[in-house]
């Protein structure tokens, strides 16, 4: 799952280095606009609904965290 998520994100956001940090939000690499794009891409690609409760820094701080969230929401 991690590889799939990473490939998808690299394709959509070539300007962002997702592997450079484990604190993408806290380090300011991701802002609300890029998070918006990530939500859109993941929702459409994996057919999931990301509830508001899941939109917390911890879930967007790394590719691992994003992959975990996708797996959790896919059930």
């Amino acid at each position: 799952m991690k590889e799939k998520v990473l490939a998808l994100l690299k394709d959509e956001f070539p300007e962002i280095d997702f592997e450079s940090s484990c604190a993408l939000v806290d380090d300011g690499i991701l802002d609300s606009l890029s998070i918006t794009g990530i939500i859109a891409v993941l929702s459409m690609e994996f057919g999931i609904i990301i509830p508001y409760e899941e939109i917390v820094e911890d879930n967007f701080n790394s590719v691992d965290a994003l992959a975990d969230m996708v797996e959790r929401l896919r059930g």
Binding site: E12, E15, D31, S32, L33, I35, T36, G37, I39, A40, V41, S43, M44, I49, I50, P51, Y52, E53, I55, V56
Partner: protein
């Protein structure tokens, strides 16, 4: 009472004294009492409104939270149930979610209505609806002249007794409507200050939304929630705190810490320096130029807009320094509202550094919920399939941005100029996001080193200029004057007016003008150091005793000697208090 009142400093010292002599567990009660006293200086009726609003939020929070937990219990028990009972459980869960939404929306609407009613009452009193009344009561205008139709101001000039005097006396509750001091105090304390109610209202809406989204539990103790609402350092201009972050810090007892109190007081003095030495002096110039715009030329408008930008920054960030400094003395850390905004390379970055807590509020409670709304997601998916990936992604960004910036504009003011201001910023951020790939390609094609100091300086200057243009929309007060002044910059620039000494007649004389500019340069220098990671307070604290105290005395005496107060001055209210 506001931060620039003479009584404020003794009030803070007394509050600190009481706070630290109370037992640790009861210290929050001392804070609550002092916060209530602070708020009551604006009028008992406002206090009652806030008590009621807090009560509604407290009750709604508990009810929503209890529904959250009921739902969780059912969900846990569902595992062993049959398919039909699972479906029944799903429908029950949906019904409960709907109930929670109804509860949340009802509580928010009631709170907003209470604030609205109170504000409208004040606006009527302050003459906001005078044009409407004047149209209806044309005869009144004909008889008494234009000036006489403005409530209480007309009375001050003519000394007459009309319906407006009666209304004014009835609302403000004092007999002598011609008492100028009473008039000014009434306008400040009963109109300007309570409109600042929006800061705690936003905090309370955020609190309820966080409970709804299960990001926090409801506060069971009404008085602890009341302290969160009324905490006096943040009641004037924020920061717009999150209860789940600041709430526990407020009720936790903090021990006296000499270094922390010293650092806090230093920050307070720095805040007064920004407010009294820079912002209030510049306000004379800005008010003179834009208030008396027919007498001025384009170059003066441009100068006033640039200095008006510095004024707004020093005014608002100065107030935040005072608020955060006072709070630091108590050991309570509040959220930062500014992070060197003029070091931003883009407009989106600027709004992540300027009025940070308002931006976070809109992001958390408007932008993100819109982004994840199923309807928007469906339209975005449709566009993605039919037009392309980029269209879907841009739609998901631009629509929530448009809503957020329209609301941000309206939050700052209901006039057309604020609406245009919101559209201006929304359009800038949307365009820079949508065309980001093209901008990257262009800079690459032009072989521009985007990491070079020169290009970064260009980007910072561009952000500053865009902010100054935004000030042209809001400072003049109406779109017609905004248009006139902006047009003058191109049609009647007359640069000689900037060098022939005329600028020293615009509200401040040349010595104060020079001092103000030097002080602004000092603020800029400190900001640039902070941007590089140098913490000035720690740096000063590490200097030898003599140098350290020389710096402290220099700042204190600068405030005392060059501050805009004393005979002939009236310390201005903080600009952002009106929002």
């Amino acid at each position: 009472m506001i931060f620039t009142d003479y009584l404020f400093f003794p009030f803070v010292l007394l509050a600190l004294l009481f706070y630290f002599i109370l037992p640790l567990r009861a210290r929050w009660i001392g804070l609550l009492v002092f916060s209530l006293v602070f708020f009551c200086t604006w009028g008992l009726d406002y206090c009652l409104v806030v008590l009621l609003i807090t009560f509604i939020a407290w009750l709604a929070g508990i009810v929503i939270d209890s529904r959250n937990h009921t739902r969780t219990k059912r969900k846990n028990g569902e595992a062993s149930e049959t398919k039909s009972s699972l479906e029944a459980g799903e429908s029950e869960s949906r019904r409960k979610k709907q109930n929670r939404i109804i509860l949340l929306v009802s509580a928010v609407v009631i709170i907003l209505v209470l604030v609205y009613v109170r504000t409208q009452q004040n606006l009527i009193a302050a003459g906001f609806f005078e044009p409407v009344v004047r149209t209806v009561s044309g005869w009144n205008a004909a008889i008494r002249g234009w000036l006489g139709t403005i409530p209480y101001l007309g009375e001050l000039v003519s000394g007459g007794k009309g319906w407006n005097t009666a209304l004014f006396q009835w609302i403000f509750g004092f007999k002598n409507a011609t008492d100028k001091t009473a008039v000014v105090q009434s306008v400040v304390y009963t109109w300007i200050v309570p409109v600042g109610i929006s800061y705690y209202v936003l905090s309370l809406i955020g609190y309820l939304a966080d409970i709804y989204w299960k990001k926090q539990c409801a506060e069971r103790n009404y008085f602890k929630l009341l302290l969160f609402v009324l905490y006096f350092p943040k009641i004037l201009e924020g920061p717009i705190s999150k209860h789940r972050i600041v709430g526990p810090r407020l009720v936790e007892g903090h021990r006296f810490d000499y270094t922390r109190v010293c650092f806090g007081l230093q920050r307070v003095v720095w805040g007064f320096f920004k407010k009294l030495v820079i912002a209030d002096h510049l306000s004379f110039l800005v008010n003179e130029v834009f208030g008396n715009y027919q007498a001025h030329v384009g170059s003066e408008f441009l100068l006033a807009a640039v200095l008006g930008t510095v004024q707004l920054y020093c005014d608002f960030s100065g107030c935040m320094d005072i608020a955060l400094g006072v709070s630091e003395c108590f050991g309570i850390q509040l959220e930062e509202n500014f992070r060197q905004p003029f070091a931003s390379c883009s407009v989106a970055e600027f709004w992540r550094r300027w009025h940070i807590t308002l931006g976070v509020w809109f992001k958390d409670y408007v932008f993100m919920p819109l982004v994840i709304s199923p309807r928007l997601m469906r339209i975005s998916g449709f566009l993605r399939e039919r037009i392309g990936k980029r269209a879907g992604k841009n739609f998901m960004t631009v629509i929530p941005l448009a809503v957020v910036w329209l609301l941000t504009g309206l939050w700052h003011g209901t006039g057309k100029n604020y609406l245009l201001w919101g559209i201006y910023w929304g359009a800038l951020i949307s365009l820079s996001t949508v065309f980001d790939p093209e901008i990257r390609k262009l800079t690459k094609w032009l072989k521009i080193d985007t990491d070079s100091e020169g290009f970064r300086f260009f980007r910072k200057s561009r952000t500053f200029c865009l902010f100054v243009i935004g000030r042209f929309i809001t400072i003049p007060g109406s779109l017609a004057v905004s248009w006139y002044t902006a047009q003058s910059v191109f049609t009647d620039f007359t640069p000689l007016r900037l060098v022939d000494g005329s600028i020293f007649t615009l509200g401040i004389d040349w010595p104060r003008f020079i001092v103000t500019l030097l002080a602004a340069a000092l603020v800029g220098f400190v900001g640039s150091k902070r941007e590089k990671g140098v913490h000035i307070r720690e740096w000063i604290a590490a200097r030898p005793l003599l140098i350290r105290w020389a710096i402290y005395y220099a700042i204190i005496f600068a405030v005392l000697i060059f501050g805009a107060y004393g005979p002939g001055y009236d310390a201005s209210s903080f600009v952002y208090m009106r929002y």
